[in-house]
Every structure is written in C-alpha cells, then in structure tokens.
Symmetry: C7
Subunit: 74 residues, 7 copies
C-alpha cells in the first residue's frame, strides 16, 4: 500500500483530472477513478499525450510500475 501521505493525495484526487508521466517519456491524462497498492490507476476520459498529438483512449488501467509521477491537473 502507498504510505499515508501518498494515499491521501490520491484519495483527494479521485474524480479529478490527473496528469500521469510514464517511463519512456509518454504522458496520459484522465479523471482518476481508482488506484490500488501497486499504484495501478483507473482513469476515465483518458488521453495519451505524445509530442503535440493527443489520442483519446476512454477508460484505461495504467499498470503502476510504469508511473514516474502523478500530478493533479491545475
């Protein structure tokens, strides 16, 4: 399980848009619907961002070990 500080931010971000930086430089953005102890994430209305292009993905499950950082979108 992520520690309390980590889990607290994620809980607060449920239902909000987050930016997820992935290993290898890719980024995805979506509404955080869930997460688990491996930092696996469920995102709704997800988009993959690559250079200047955006690709709509709908709901996705991101495997936690690909995550570099998660940032609530401002």
């Amino acid at each position: 399980m992520p520690g309390p500080a980590t889990a607290q931010i994620l809980v607060k971000s449920l239902g909000s848009s987050v930016l997820v930086k992935l290993k290898g430089g890719r980024e995805v953005r979506g509404i955080l619907r869930g997460f688990d102890q491996h930092l696996n994430l469920v995102l709704d209305e997800a988009e993959e961002l690559k250079s200047n292009k955006t690709r709509k993905l709908g709901t996705i499950i991101v495997r936690g070990d690909n995550v570099v950082f998660i940032s609530p979108v401002m």
Copy 2:
C-alpha cells in the same frame, strides 16, 4: 491481486475488445478472456499492431509486466 477498482474494470471488459499498450511501444488488441493477479491477460482473436501493420495472432497470453495500459476499445 489488482485492487478493487482495477479488477472491476477488467471484469466488466471480459468478452469485449481491449487495446493493450506494451512496453517498447508495441500494442496488441483482442477480446479479453481472462486476467490474473499479475495482470497477465488472455486475449482471443489477438492482433499485434506495429506502425501501420497488423499481424493476426489468435489466442495469446500477455505477461503482465509488459503492460503499460489496458483500454477497452470504443
């Protein structure tokens, strides 16, 4: 085991087509027949997508640690 939110999406996707982004940029698409606690996936009528080419694979088992994200095909 994937957490409840993750497992719930996967259970709902059983029997439906999913797009799986793999590490290294490859993608496979197929009908989700099963998954387990490592996010190992069983896909039917699977196809490997690479650049503009498609390669038919039939049933495949994807080892979970290659998965970047899983997306129900819209």
Copy 3:
C-alpha cells in the same frame, strides 16, 4: 502461479507448437513441454526467429521474465 485463465490456455497448449515473443523483439517457436509459476517455459524442437533467419535450438528453457506474449501457432 499464473491465474486459472492463463494456466488453462497453457495446459491446453502442452504438446502443441507455440510462438513466444521475447523482450527485445526476438521470437522463439517450439512445442510446449512444460511451464511453471514464473512462466518459465520448456520448448522442444525450438527455433529462434530473427528477421528472416531461423536457428534450430532443440530443447530450450525460456526464463519467464523475458516473455512478452505466448501464442499457440495456428
């Protein structure tokens, strides 16, 4: 142990030819003789496929953590 769905496909493939995609783009093909909880595979009459070349290997043990996907050959 791979979950039931994964193990079921592998059990059904015992004695049949499978294609194994490995990390780094390599592929091997052979008759599946066994597998274990790490997805280590035993293949008979194995061949390594690289670009357009084939290399006969006989019986091989593939370490499971190299596997991207396993596909019964059609």
Copy 4:
C-alpha cells in the same frame, strides 16, 4: 521501510525544498510533504527540470522506484 539513517534525513527535510534526480536524467524539485516505505514522495510546488526548461507541476506523487537520489536544496 528505509533504514533509520535514510528516514532521519527525510523526516528532517519535510517542509523543505528537495531536488530529486530521476532515472533517465530528469529532475524534479519541490517541497517534501511526505514519503513512504517505497521512497514514494509527495512534493508540493513541484517543478520538472529538463535541460534549461522548467515546467510547473503543482503537487506530485513521485513513484519511488524512479528515484536515483534525493538532495535537500541548499
């Protein structure tokens, strides 16, 4: 859990600015708000530093396995 020496530095750095070097050469900087047993970090007012560019990220959760080193900003 990080050992006592490691945890002690992190506890002392709570509320202060830290520089985090990530695998692949990226760096992020922010105010340390929390950490857990995997070295997952919560940073406030985080910025991603890349070559000469800075990108404001707000609050972020850095997954611990990306961390090379953490340095309190002098």
Copy 5:
C-alpha cells in the same frame, strides 16, 4: 524453485554442454555443473561467444536474471 518441467531438463543436462543466451545478445557455452532456484548456473569450461569471437572463461557462475534461454548443445 523452477517448476518440475524446468528442473527436470536442467537435471538431465548436468554434466553436458549447454548454450546460454543472455540479455543484451551475449551467449555463453559450457558444461552445466549446477543450478539453483534463481536459475543461477555454474558452468565449467565456459566460453563467451560474441559475434565471431570466443573467449575462454573457465568455471563461471551466471546470475540467473540475465538468462533468456538455456539450450542443451546438440
């Protein structure tokens, strides 16, 4: 421990020459003297094969996590 099918092949190969494909494309060949639960291997009269060159190494211990596949030399 490797599963029964895997261990059985390795036990049968003790005292015989095996080819070991390593991550990164290297290969070593030698007489299998031992193995353990991590697929760490002990090889006698080992040789490293790289492109067209061979380098004699004597007895070596190969760390299991570098192994892609092991093949009894025909």
Copy 6:
C-alpha cells in the same frame, strides 16, 4: 540486509569518503553517513561527477537499486 562481509566494509567506511558508481555511468562521491538493508546510502558533502564536471549536492540519499559498486576513496 547486506551479508556480514558487505555490511562490515560499509560500517568501517562510515564517516569516510566513498565513491559510488551508479547505473547509467554516473558517479557520486561523499562521506558515508548511513546505509540500510537495500543499500540505500546517506552521503554528506556529496558531489555528482559527470565527465569532467563536478556538481556539489550537499547531503543526499542514494536509492540502493541504482548502485553498481561502492568504493572507499583512497
């Protein structure tokens, strides 16, 4: 926990300068203040060495999984 031989060297190096080779070719140097069971290291007066340049970092926590080797500076 590192085994007795490993821990003994590290204990003897506490308070002394060590050179740490990191994956990807980077090196850091500093006074060893602490270490834990993952080989996480606390270094004081740390410097990052890259090609011919030196960058002063102050106190740093190096995540153990980046370490290739640790050498007391002679």
Copy 7:
C-alpha cells in the same frame, strides 16, 4: 541464498582473484573477500576494466543485481 552449487564455487574462490562481468558491458577484477545471498560481492585490490583502460579502485562492494557472471581468473 545462492544454491549449494553456486555457493560452493564462491566459497572456493574466497581469497582468489575473480573476474566479474557487469550489465552494460563493464568488468571488474579483484580478490574475492566476501559475498552474500544477493550475490553482493566484496572485492579487494579491485580494478575496473573498460576497453583497454584499467582503473584501480581498492576495496569495493559490487551490488549483486549488476552481475552477469563471475569467473575465477585463471
């Protein structure tokens, strides 16, 4: 712990010179003073070998997960 076959070779090599091949192609050579269950190694009078250059390192601790193979120097 490395299995009996692996540990036996290492015990026999204590006090003798060993060549250690590391991931990424680097090699170090030194007198084996100790090892532990992760294949962490303590080497005395260690030297880093890279292309045609040698760099003296004194005593070093090699983190086991970097090791490709260990070979007693003949």
